[in-house]
Symmetry: D2
Subunit: 470 residues, 4 copies
């Protein structure tokens, strides 16, 4: 959410509980590690839940492809030249239809890929099956144990005949595993691409300690991620997540949004637009002043808590909604988290003996006070939009394209352009990612004349922004 958590342990990152409204029901309970499966072509270098789900997964991937135009263009433009020929990529990300489009794009561009999940809950089993059926060595299923988690990561790396030379990471676990367990491999890496706040933080730590052996690209702080991912994803998903879980009416509802960063801005825009009355809490005076100018009342949570119909956390901080607030909420108040991890609401305090829990729908719990008051807690305080709504594929496409370009850049950069340090994507590449997404809107970019470019002191093909622009 744009703020840094400096204190998360490795294992925490990978087990953030994550669940989905699209749960697979009545599944086989056996562990994938115990059974041998084969694709229709006889391949077996993968480990997933059930290869028979491949066809359904393929359809989900095809649907995602339609909303990821930039990767499809990359496939066409770069297919002939195979810019990733020779790249051996180990990846560790959520395994979803969208990342499948990314992985298969890398493959089409010439890379060999082996993949694990960055979260024990988030794998879409059918998508993993489709990837395996398509020839990707994927090791991931929904509901891994922690032991499974590291086993899967290790399976990506630990081969005799095949040595990875690039890492695509989300959270830093793959990087950390190789750094710790395979230091000689780590030294031969050509590049690392990382997209999460946590993973980027770890990379900077390694860099400062002089232990980063390869250039790394910080995708998290790229313009496209900062300006699009948080704001637009949240604007699109907050209403959806609330409707699917509670069928709440928005008109006239009093909502407190904690935090007015990009996530909060996205949530507030959507809620206000549908007729909710939104109040903001903030710690940062700059965001606070923006909230005021944008027409929201800036309050402390304690001042407004009694009249709130909903409280939504978007801070990246912890214990923003504490027991003292939960105690004072009115009957029927909805509490949920759009921010970072599952720490923003003090859910632990609700596990008190005097409070009863009633599980009323998937991902919806009523917590019942002795006097009968009910608080409606969504996704047990985990991320609402990952758990209870879909995230727009098109916005994910922007980040995925950035990841692909970052890989290509690091792999094909001439010797010496990048040192053993953490880099931001060159502004021009950010602009290229954006331009690849414009045709979806039938949008027509204006081109500078030579005279105008000279007047502005710019190259007429960009970059158009100063490098510090964000």
């Amino acid at each position: 959410t744009g703020r840094r958590s400096l204190s998360r342990s490795i294992s925490q990152s990978s087990t953030d509980s994550y669940s989905s409204v699209y749960s697979d029901s009545s599944e086989d309970e056996s562990s994938p590690r115990e059974k041998q499966q084969k694709t229709s072509k006889g391949l077996s270098d993968f480990c997933i839940k059930n290869i028979k789900q491949a066809e359904f997964g393929r359809r989900e991937i095809e649907i995602a492809e339609q909303e990821m135009p930039a990767l499809m263009v990359l496939r066409k433009r770069a297919e002939g030249e195979k810019p990733l020929a020779g790249a051996k990529v180990v990846g560790c990300t959520h395994i979803t239809a969208q990342t499948a489009v990314l992985i298969e794009t890398l493959s089409i561009l010439g890379a060999q890929c082996r993949w694990a999940a960055c979260n024990i809950y988030s794998t879409q089993n059918a998508v993993a099956a489709a990837l395996a059926e398509g020839g990707i060595s994927v090791f991931a299923w929904k509901g891994e144990s922690e032991d499974d988690f590291w086993w899967c990561i290790d399976r990506c790396v630990n081969l005799q005949s095949w040595q990875p030379n690039m890492i695509l990471d989300d959270g830093g676990d793959m990087t950390h595993w190789i750094y710790k367990k395979y230091p000689s491999l780590f030294k031969r890496m050509k590049g690392i691409v990382e997209e999460s706040v946590t993973g980027v933080h770890r990379l900077y730590q390694l860099s400062r300690a002089g232990k980063l052996c390869a250039p790394a690209m910080n995708v998290n702080d790229s313009v496209t991620k900062q300006k699009f991912d948080n704001l637009y994803c949240c604007r699109e998903s907050i209403l959806d997540g609330l409707k699917r879980t509670t069928d709440i009416m928005f008109g006239g509802k009093q909502v407190v949004v904690c935090g007015y960063g990009e996530v909060g801005k996205g949530c507030c825009a959507a809620l206000k637009a549908l007729g909710a009355i939104v109040y903001i809490t903030e710690v940062d005076p700059i965001c606070a002043l923006q909230a005021c100018m944008d027409g929201f009342r800036l309050v402390k949570l304690g001042e407004i808590i009694r009249q709130a119909d909903m409280v939504i956390t978007c801070t990246g901080n912890r214990n923003v909604v504490g027991k003292e607030h939960l105690d004072r909420m009115k009957n029927g108040c909805i509490v949920c988290n759009m921010g970072h991890s599952n720490t923003e609401i003090d859910v632990a305090s609700l596990r008190a003996p005097e409070l009863a829990w009633e599980h009323v729908r998937p991902l919806v719990d009523h917590v019942i006070w002795p006097d009968g008051k009910r608080i409606i807690l969504l996704a047990e305080g985990r991320l609402l939009n990952l758990s209870c709504s879909t995230v727009p594929t098109f916005v994910l496409s922007i980040t995925a394209t950035t990841q692909a370009l970052a890989l290509i850049e690091l792999f094909s950069a001439p010797e010496g352009r990048y040192k053993q340090d953490v880099y931001l994507l060159p502004k021009k590449m950010d602009e290229y990612v954006a331009s690849l997404h414009l045709p979806t809107f039938d949008a027509h970019l204006t081109e500078l004349t030579d005279e105008q470019a000279k007047y502005l002191g710019l190259n007429k093909h960009g970059p158009f922004k100063p490098s510090y622009y964000r």
Copy 2:
């Protein structure tokens, strides 16, 4: 407007034609330089239009003070300690009620001030009179000649008994004058504060050439200026400027906004909100993609020009609206500029012999084609919001407070903190400026607990943003 013009000459900056809906009628035509005036206390070290207007100007200043709460707080907080005692500030800015509040604040904080105008048209004569009556040595009037302009600047600096040690500049003309004409003075400067794109560009040039003798603060690129000034000023003033000049109805009007930077974003938000149908042109793919996601059609100007009811330029570029567009506009189309300087619309091309001009109201011209088609040109292509509307004092207060704090910081910084270079305001000071403006909204900031601050790795009193945040 966020983009740089590298090719402006010094004199251009100071004569951007600037006029106001509040023109003083039936004025004395004699030059202020020719007559001797005295304040009620017998002072005469100033040169303005008419000291008798002081009372009216004082009322305008008092009205402005009500919307500039942060400077009033600074006066109270810092009055006892006089942090600027010993500072001798020469300033060169627009002379308006808002800058008067700034100048008098500096004076209350202990500074001695001498002031000139940064633009030959923009001085509010009554305000200049009030400043003079209050004891500030001000040299400025509306409608200076270029010779007057430099004469006024020189009068600020050229004294035997008084040597300035700080510069507050807007456009860089004061700095340049001292640099060129008084090099020994320039070397003894303690600090320079500059708020314009142009002036900042010149400072960086000096710095790169090794000729900058004093630390300079770049206020233009501070968060508060970038995030508030352009966006909110334009959102507030675009409707006002259009209504005051044309009484146009916004509902259902088709408007083309050229440029979707902060200025364009502010204009588009206001126009869409009032029921206009807005189209955007952009050269930069990132801003273009934002326009799309925000619900605007991205077009080239030529595609849409025939159906436009209004065309508004916000690019910082030149000749964005050219003769080829003007020729194809429909009868009654309104053309105006919210961007940079007066170059965005090719007004020169309208001075053709086959086109007739009819001056229908102050700042409104009809340009008439041979077939009778009329284009409505506002402010002859100069900045609409400076010419035809008021700019909200509260937003100007944010920049003015930043300027005051930058002066204090440079003046009172311990030896060695700042070198002979161009600096950005420390993030914490940006946050302080923002916090001083919150009480206006009765806004209540949340404070981090110790535990939360530790979790986030932040000092609980900020800064809250990474230094590159903008």
Copy 3:
């Protein structure tokens, strides 16, 4: 949808196909008519799918009660006096959690109720079970045959020992059945309350023909229904219906909304607010001019069809989207109906041999052209919000409260106040319904002073609007 369909046959009204995202899976296939069931108290005068679902249904009803504050207040206020004591109500409505709250309210107010479904698909079986378990004689299940449909209606009426004296109808089928089959019963009715366009039309026909034997209340044209039901229900449900079926991103999408009545206004407000670019088609110049003033481009469907990402019908008309439009849509275009019945999109034309259908998700079909183009058809052209989203309980509460008050008014009105005619609810009662819903928002109404009431020529307790206000 505010427009009248004069040509619908009786059976059509009752079999509008209706399905739900909440389908009961793996259900018993036997007909409820063939089996005998008993409540826990041994009652058996009902016919539903499965009495064992009562507990789940009860929870859904309890959730609905929280969003229907006005009926809960009515229960409290009128409980002591039992204003419906002696009323024997036969009802024919959708059987949902919301209507269950209404039915049980009538019961608490003293009425005896027997109930059938007005649509063969729309019954929520668990809710019907809860009603039966609670002692209501309900005859309804999801997926009735047409024979079942009329059998259920007849079971409500055809008793020896019990003769209904009031009708609560939605569509007019109950009224028509009694009129045709039990004319002597019809003559003894004390009142009829009808809420649908179709049913109201039939009542006016009966009235004009001199065959209406009892006073009837037209709830469809009440202010509360007209001003709230369509506008706010659609504003709340359009985004939800689209997201649940297609996960579409709204930002920048080009959407054509056919019809700018209340339904269209609600859809457009929500879509525009989330960043879609909305075009309108209209036949009525008044609504067309409103669309223009509200900032939408008014077009003919044929002009815009090639660039549309979505087409949504809200007209109440038929074949608004015809084969000629469907043929010209671009690949991936979404087509759905928020209007009236299932006639607005010419779905029949898509059953052509050259077009392939692929059922991709519940209620989502891809129709595939020979060249591979896919059109995404939702709910097979039936009502999107009834099929694919939830409708906000709070808004339904407004109509349900109006129905309850209309029943009370007709039942308890003094002899002679109402004749054998069709009436609109008195304006004052509309205002009472509205006032009962204000506490939900913690809203505080201002009361006129005596002096003000006199000045306005109004009673200080209302009605405040002229009777023709709508």
Copy 4:
């Protein structure tokens, strides 16, 4: 404002104080009644301020013509047939550029016109001059005495050789004068067209008393007036009126809007869109519930008054803002009226000896409490949008076209179609008015197919709405 005032005397209606930001300065003080003026063609049957202003007035009329497309079309369509040939119209309206376009349209359609002002303050003298120069016998100037007012009206009627047969009235004073003073003339009238709430009320009184001798058309309650005039005029003018008088910034301001009828809805939409935080007060539960659903907090004025930055009255009621509220407002609070007449704010109570008034700008007064608190009162509580902003000509065009069509309808209707009663404009004519305004937006209406018209039971050319639609 949609509510009726039953208690206004005749003279009150005509002297509602009305003033303008566009005041003519340094005017000749002599009474127009005392001097003889002649047009360039030698005509002298008029009485206005100064015929020499005709050229300036003509330009204002020409500008207005561009925004009144429907009247210009009427001129073209009906010019050949001269549908008003033989009509002798006496009119009594505001004399502005917009009504001038209406009057000259009537003239082009064949009518002979004589005109007076319906308000002693509202006449634009230059426009009156242009009308006179163009041959209309106009009797009106800005700043009439009450005696002047009735003298002007009488001059329209009291001729030997010319007897009016139609009345176009705004407020009912012309109608009343003829009814009282020239009863024989009154009996021979062919029709009366009235557009104000007050005038319509008087007509219904005459009708009920059996004293209405001619059919009258109630334009006030036509769809076009109700749905467009109040809502869109206020949405367009509220921001403009506030900016021109106070230069206030809207972002983050707390605003109380009293009344959520069409006027209030228009104001709230604009204010919220520009970032203000809006609270509503209402007496009517239906409007109150709409306010809640639209996302506004419904409060009593007393609850919120201490924190308000602005209070805007839109009620049609009196003393909505009383001394008890004014006493509790905070320093700098702005108070103004968008509603009805000048009664909504208890301005009289501010004329107390302990309060000082300071006139700071035209139409802006500071009222100063003994403790120094200042309340900013606009237009002395009179209508803000008439006094301090312009009203969009295009919206006025809708009403003006309705008036013209109503005159034609009454004048050319076959004997017996209209009796001596008050009529609403036929719905079809409302729709015609709307359709004449669509080309301005390049809007394309869809036409019903024969099949669709039959399905809907409508004539394919309308009317499309039931007659009670409003």
